[in-house]
């Protein structure tokens, strides 16, 4: 036990004292906050209004394009050619051309612009035209304007999760974001820290210090010490990132909010866009009064302690499961270049789970979601995607038990390969050879 502790201490200190660790730990939150600050700054700063010229030959859209804070519509009355010629000299950002027979040929609408038009502008214009044509066609079919108005019911639904603690307003949007972030963090850390374990073991092997070390430490203790040491480095980095990011974010937003009017229309629009961009859009974008409060409320509706607890468990479980395998690879080869052939079977399940995660986000209670969140090789990533949406306790328990068994299994397997591999030099190892090592006495 004393030796395992010494190994953990060395592995931890050697890595934490490295300049690259310090740089990464400080730089990542700075980059994150910097990015965040730039986004907000751009949002506040872009108050210039865009002018859109409309050349409406059909005469159907006279009143339909409504000016907003960022868009100003100017109606032209000229031929297309002269309008185009004048457009170049004007300060207008875009020219919309609606031909006479737009009702029959809706695809003939054109948007001219000096530069490319943003997707938002394009879809806004298309929406207005679509709606007007729809209205006209419906009226032509005998449905009056009044009926149309009446039939336009604005349904806004609230998703409410029924749980033992009673009803709770939930937000699939927030759950999606949180689940996605957790899955990504676990995916990244398994890769980054798993390869660190592998590198460390290959380094000990190629520098031949391993023979000295294992004359005092049991190979299993050495391997486990390294795995735990690197895990602690990862945890340290996470904790520092969370604190630094939180501190920097609050400092930055305090600085920014002093320059920013409350509920500025730009902010509202930005928030609306972000919400609209979410895959599961449940929040009624139009009725958002205070979007920030809404998001905070949604986040608060999630079971944050459960999510953090599970995140730590699945981070550690997934890392332990995979780093043992990475460690076995490190012990089996002579140098970094030879690791490739053994890396594939280890990285595939990690990459697959990250791909599956995208589907699971859309259908967090489906069959795929269930099975992949139970199997230990995919569960660390997939279960973290599902947990913000709410998962039955027995499923979490089963998945956790299997994950623990899973990493005990991979650690056992890795230890068998490790103790033979670290003393094996100058030999190209095949899978058959590895299998033999596992069953050595």
């Amino acid at each position: 036990m004393r030796n395992i502790f010494l190994v953990i201490k060395r592995e931890y200190l050697v890595r934490v004292k490295k300049k690259s660790f310090l740089i990464m730990t400080l730089l990542a939150p700075l980059l994150f906050v910097g990015f965040y600050a730039v986004v907000i700054w751009v949002a506040i700063g872009s108050v210039d209004t865009k002018t859109v010229q409309v050349l409406d030959e059909s005469g159907l859209f006279k009143k339909e394009f409504k000016d907003s804070e960022t868009l100003k519509f100017v109606y032209l009355d000229a031929s297309l050619d002269s309008a185009k010629a004048r457009f170049k000299g004007s300060e207008a950002n875009a020219l919309v051309f609606i031909p006479k027979n737009v009702i029959n040929e809706p695809k003939s609408v054109r948007i001219y612009a000096a530069k490319n038009v943003s997707m938002d502008l394009k879809s806004d214009i298309e929406k207005v035209i679509e709606k007007q044509i729809e209205d006209i066609k419906l009226s032509a079919a005998g449905i009056t304007h009044q009926i149309l108005e009446d039939s336009r019911v604005n349904v806004t639904s609230e998703t409410i999760s029924l749980s033992d603690e009673g009803e709770k307003t939930s937000s699939s949007g927030a759950a999606t974001v949180i689940g996605g972030i957790c899955a990504f963090l676990i995916y990244m850390s398994v890769f980054i820290y798993g390869t660190q374990v592998m590198r460390g073991i290959t380094e000990e092997k190629t520098s031949r210090i391993v023979e000295v070390i294992i004359s005092s430490v049991k190979p299993f203790d050495l391997m486990l010490g390294k795995i735990i040491g690197v895990a602690l480095v990862g945890l340290t980095q996470f904790v520092l990132w969370i604190f630094l990011t939180a501190a920097l974010t609050s400092a930055t937003s305090a600085a920014l909010s002093s320059q920013m009017p409350k509920d500025s229309p730009q902010m509202k629009q930005e928030m609306k866009k972000i919400q609209d961009g979410m895959p599961n859009r449940q929040m009624p974008g139009g009725t958002v009064e205070n979007p920030i409060a809404e998001v905070l409320g949604a986040v608060n509706s999630l079971n944050i302690p459960l999510i953090i607890g599970c995140f730590l468990f699945y981070y550690l479980g997934g890392y332990l499961l995979y780093s043992a395998l990475f460690g076995a690879v490190g012990a089996a080869v002579d140098n970094d270049a030879d690791t490739q052939q053994f890396m594939l079977p280890i990285t595939l399940p990690i990459i697959f789970s990250f791909v599956f995660a995208q589907f699971v986000l859309r259908d967090p209670d489906g069959n795929l979601a269930f099975w992949t969140s139970i199997i230990p090789f995919t569960s660390p990533i997939i279960m973290m995607v599902r947990i913000p949406f709410g998962v039955p306790a027995w499923e979490i328990a089963l998945s956790m038990v299997l994950l623990v068994l899973g990493f005990m299994g991979t650690t056992w397997l890795a230890a068998r390969i490790y103790r033979v591999g670290i003393l094996m030099y100058g030999k190209k190892v095949s899978y058959k050879e590895l299998a033999k090592w596992i069953f050595y006495k």
């Binding site: 190994v7 050697v14 520098s207 023979e211 000295v212 070390i213 004359s215 030099y425 050595y440 006495k441």
Partner: protein, 304 residues
Amino acid sequence: MNIIEVRNVTKEYSNHVALDDVSISIPKGSIFGLLGPNGAGKTSLIRIINQITGPDKGQILFDGEILNASHISRIGYLPEERGLYKKMKVGEQLLYLAQLKGLSQKQAMEKLKIWFVKFDIKTWWDKSVSDLSKGMQQKVQFVSTVLHEPDLIILDEPFSGFDPINANLIRDEILELKQKGCTIIFSTHRMETVEELCDNIALIHKSKKVLDGPKKEIKEQFKTHTYFVEYKGELDGLENTFEILDEKELESGYKRTNIHLGQNISPNELLTSLLPKVEIRSFGENIPSMSDIFMRSVNEVPEG
């Protein structure tokens, strides 16, 4: 009293036998030479004594007890393939290795100070190992091997990579350790080292022990009862009991001859017969060198 007793140890790997029923006794306080050609099984035996691997059959006694984990801190091991953490500082690294051998940080620090003064390497403490030359790294590794004052020190080719000055320094250290009562196992190909330092030897060849015992006795055993004479004159008409093996002309008119003596004939009798015939410059017994013994033992074992 033997510090190590290897009893009928067999070790097999998937496709070959590394040690085949090997028994060796290593007396306490001796310098023991473990000899053998490359791939004979020396490293396998050393790894078993270090508890890096275990024997398939047989057992090892350390100081009378069956080898177990508590003996790890009483052994110091310098492997043939030297290695240190390249990026780690010399001081930190030695502290770490000493602590793994069971020393407390404080004890390790005190002992390290003594060694750093002794080897005059105080300025190395904060240097990265990769900044040291190969010879300097060897010195650091030697310190790490003996720092915890083990009872048994196993040195695999200890002089490789040292210049003559540092090799002498290390040799003196080894002799000093022996004086203090340490037992030292040498694994080496360099017969001059064995000749100079070892009290006992064992020779392993093709996984089997072919020879062991005190160096003196082995030399006695390998004596061929031949004597050399360097002389001026003609060696004609010697008795039949003296068999002239060869004769060689040396520069300056002297000749050198090897003469084999028959059973129970003393060198004095040879001298008496020689004196009237030739002018003797030097005379002596041909004592087999370790190198001769090594070659003869290895070649006697049939191939395959």
